[in-house]
Subunit: 295 residues, 2 copies
Amino acid sequence: MTSLPLGSIRVFDSVARLQNFTKAADELNMTQSAVSYQIKLLEDFAGTPLFQRRARGVTLTPKGEVIAPVIRRALADMGETFRAIREEQNSVLVISVIHTFASNWLTPRITDFQNLHPEVSVRFDISSRLVDFSSEGIDCGIRLGRGNWPGLTSHRLLSGGFTPLASPAYLERYGRPQTPADLLQCHLITPDDNWWPVWFRQAGVEGPLTMTKPGVTIDTQQIIGGLALSGGGVGLVSSAFFQNEIESGTLVKLFDIEASTGTNYYLVYPETGQLPAKVKFFRDWIIDCSCNTKF
Amino acid sequence: MTSLPLGSIRVFDSVARLQNFTKAADELNMTQSAVSYQIKLLEDFAGTPLFQRRARGVTLTPKGEVIAPVIRRALADMGETFRAIREEQNSVLVISVIHTFASNWLTPRITDFQNLHPEVSVRFDISSRLVDFSSEGIDCGIRLGRGNWPGLTSHRLLSGGFTPLASPAYLERYGRPQTPADLLQCHLITPDDNWWPVWFRQAGVEGPLTMTKPGVTIDTQQIIGGLALSGGGVGLVSSAFFQNEIESGTLVKLFDIEASTGTNYYLVYPETGQLPAKVKFFRDWIIDCSCNTKF
DNA sequence: GATTAGACATCAATAGATTTAATGGCTCGA
DNA sequence: TCGAGCCATTAAATCTATTGATGTCTAATC
């Protein structure tokens, strides 16, 4: 059994609406003869005439009358669904972004982008895993790395350098360390973080790194920063994310020493043939914006 | 803007169900490569991937997930509608039949046909106009004529001969006419019917046909017959339709003279290439059946 | 009743879209 | 590391859908 000739159904719908092969042909940009062929195909499939041929056009037969609304609805549903998807495709920008970056850097600045491009709405996909762009409907992302992801275009945004910060209240209570090595005596937040040894070495501290005070271990910079702010100890975080706090004095940068593992924050997006306008807009804006952030 | 590639949607549906291009190709009797092509077409139309390619098949992307149920439903709705129509096409026999024939001849006999072919259900389309078979979904009809309709196959069923009938009660009250000419003195039902002059002439009555008694004018044999039965006068009707009444004596055939305009009752159906089985069944049955009716 | 305009059917030729077959690359699991 | 399973790609083959020309039919008009 041959299956429903799908190509015919659009023709059928048009003819059913216009009650006229010639006009339908016109609407569909084909010839009257092609319409006739398609309708015949469908009638053969149905096993019965669907239109009654009249002198000034055609009218639906009772069976055609039954089919017409079903087809119209099916086409409308599918068309509408695809339209919505394409609409979203153009107007919603989905950015995969790590939590810290979103809350400490991007969120405060994103309204500026929205003012610049009000037709684009922005959605953050906040997760720490490395998402697969094409398959999850994600347009671009912010990643920490070396800018050499295969298949992705990347633009360096911010330094991945990190430095110890503490609140004035903490320093007042426990005293401000004078040398990097003094920090070993402080309450380090997340003392077993891999970044601490890196920072100590790059700050010139040699010998065994024995931390003497107990520290809280937590795992996102966001919270590390928050804990430092509330006087819970010394946190080692990307300084770029705490510009505001440093400038306003609510967090103190203990030494002018930025350590780095060589990784930085990048904007990345797939190397596709045609970059969507919304991604272009975002790229241009965020690059410009990141230039106004130190580091 | 190019329009929804309808050919792709069946492929999409299959792939969405099976989560596998190769299996879908198998189901659709095409190659994996053709499936790949069709899906790409649809993805180009959507402007976004609809499937996420994985090592052991594919999975729907979020957008594909949105489209899949819509397409499945659209296909199911259309498929079901066509299926129902074809089903009806094979199992419902629509007969266009004039009122008198239906009620006086066909209806009493049709149960026999239904017993013979229980899988076919019969629908009468009762109307006096000559319907257009192909366009109104009518399979066959009973017509009064000469059996020479162009484009239609016809089988003679019953004589179109007519003869005057009256009820015993009427005859008792007004006396039974002894000669055809006597009838001019009776209450003729529908005296201006064209059939009356035909009958009188064929019965050998010459000269002016002056009817002396007022008569009721009505227009269907069904009612003429009914009126005659109830003693309202003498009705001129197709005798074939009143066999039962004549045999049981509730109507009396006044003379053994059947007049005819040369027309008879025929079974007709379109000269199509392939006659549906249900029509074949009906034809064979009704021809056989009509042989058991006088005239 | 002849004529005309409008509309669908049909046919052969053709363009073009689909499908195929073959091949290559990718991922996962053994 | 290898093999199995699966999708993408390509060029060629196929076949469907479309075209353009022509024929037929119907209703309306004169």
